[in-house]
Amino acid sequence: MIFSYYPGCTLKTKAKDLDIYARLSAQALGITLDELPEWQCCGAVYPMAKDEIATKLSSVRSLISAKEQGNDLITLCSACHNVMKQVNNDMQSDVVIAEKINNYLQPGVPYHGETRVIHYLEMLRDKVGFDVLAQKVKNPFTGRKIAAYYGCVLLRPASVMQMDDPENPVIMENFIRAIGGEPVIYPYRNECCGGYVTLENNELVGKNSVKVLASAEQNGAEMILTACPLCLYNLDKNNADHKVPVIYFTELLAEALGVKNEGEKENAGN
């Protein structure tokens, strides 16, 4: 299976683990992730305003690039995923936005959201299959209590993201089961850590992040999984009293598939 792949800004810098382990795991699963050539940063938050056009252009360029490659587009960072899917939805359903963007970019063929955007977790669920993944696991996390942290934008708004039930999601829990672990269900798993407000209001982000950490810990979590570099940063920063490790889900995947050592080598070289 071949997919186009959009890593996004942070996966090339502060969140290399999220990227490296995703690539190694994909390889182990027989999947080729073909990184888009010359991709640009998506902007990290979806521009909600109806009259924002320029801030959507970089995402549309990536979407068109994937269309030209003829592949579905895999995203990994929760924020990139949200922006890509929502902008793609605009190109499909908002005539004014699509018209203005096509007029500006002048692609050979006007783009109307033909590319399918799929999160890496959706790829594991829908393309690989959690049952097939389970069979390929070499180092199962048997007996380990693992909490999935969805955060805010991986699943919301569900009408556009169409990935899972945003109030009672199962995709990450089923992933945890596939790698042999025991998912911990806790109330704050889909509440926001505080996101970008971390830059100007540590106190607010601290309160939110501690609620998530405490909630996971009280329900017996040994570790917390995320797909978002900003969630990981905010939770880690406020983890002093809790000390529940916060880990990218791809790192656990690589460990389960027995390819984590290769990632550590790759990381040491950076």
């Binding site: 996004g8 800004c9 942070t10 810098t13 502060k14 969140a15 940063c41 902007g43 990290a44 938050v45 521009p47 909600m48 305003a49 109806k50 009259d51 924002e52 801030t55 960072c77 924020a79 955060g151 805010c152 934008v153 919301r156 708004p157 569900a158 945003p166 109030e167 509440e191 926001c192 505080g194 996101g195 970008y196 407000v197 971390t198 830059l199 100007e200 209001n201 607010l204 939110n208 978002c228 570099p229 900003l230 990981l232 940063y233 880690d236 920063k237």
Partner: protein, 128 residues
């Protein structure tokens, strides 16, 4: 002055694409909001203050929204309070010299683990 006020309200409605009249005042948005305690005006208040044309007060107080989409997801009437807050923020930062976050401030805010994603999204939310 009255004409200017209504123009401001129309701009917010147009930019956000929100139909405030769909709101049935159930308060689920504010009940869902993780920043509720931090805000001068809560999500449900944003909706009816925009409906009344009370935009000035909101323009002073729109930086506590996390854009987490909880209110958007949970509104039974599809009102999207977060889109109103975004539109009001834009009314401010689109004014010349009114950026809430300036590039000069960034070096002092950096730490070794801060992901690029935080800076990029803060600029998107706070600056033009």
């Amino acid at each position: 002055m009255q004409a200017i006020r209504s123009n401001l309200t129309e701009q917010v409605l147009r930019t956000s694409g929100v139909n405030v009249r769909k709101c049935m005042r159930c308060g689920k948005c504010s009940g869902s909001c993780p920043s509720y305690d931090e805000m001068d005006y809560h999500p449900h208040q944003f909706v009816y203050m925009v409906e009344k044309g009370d935009i000035d007060a909101l323009m002073q107080s729109s930086y506590r929204c996390l854009s987490c989409m909880a209110c958007v997801e949970r509104c039974p009437r599809g009102v999207a309070p977060a889109s109103l807050i975004e539109a009001i923020r834009l009314m401010v930062v689109r004014q010349q010299g009114q950026n809430h976050l300036k590039a000069d401030q960034i070096p002092a805010l950096l730490d070794k683990n801060l992901p690029q994603q935080a800076i990029v999204s803060a600029f998107r939310k706070y600056s033009k």
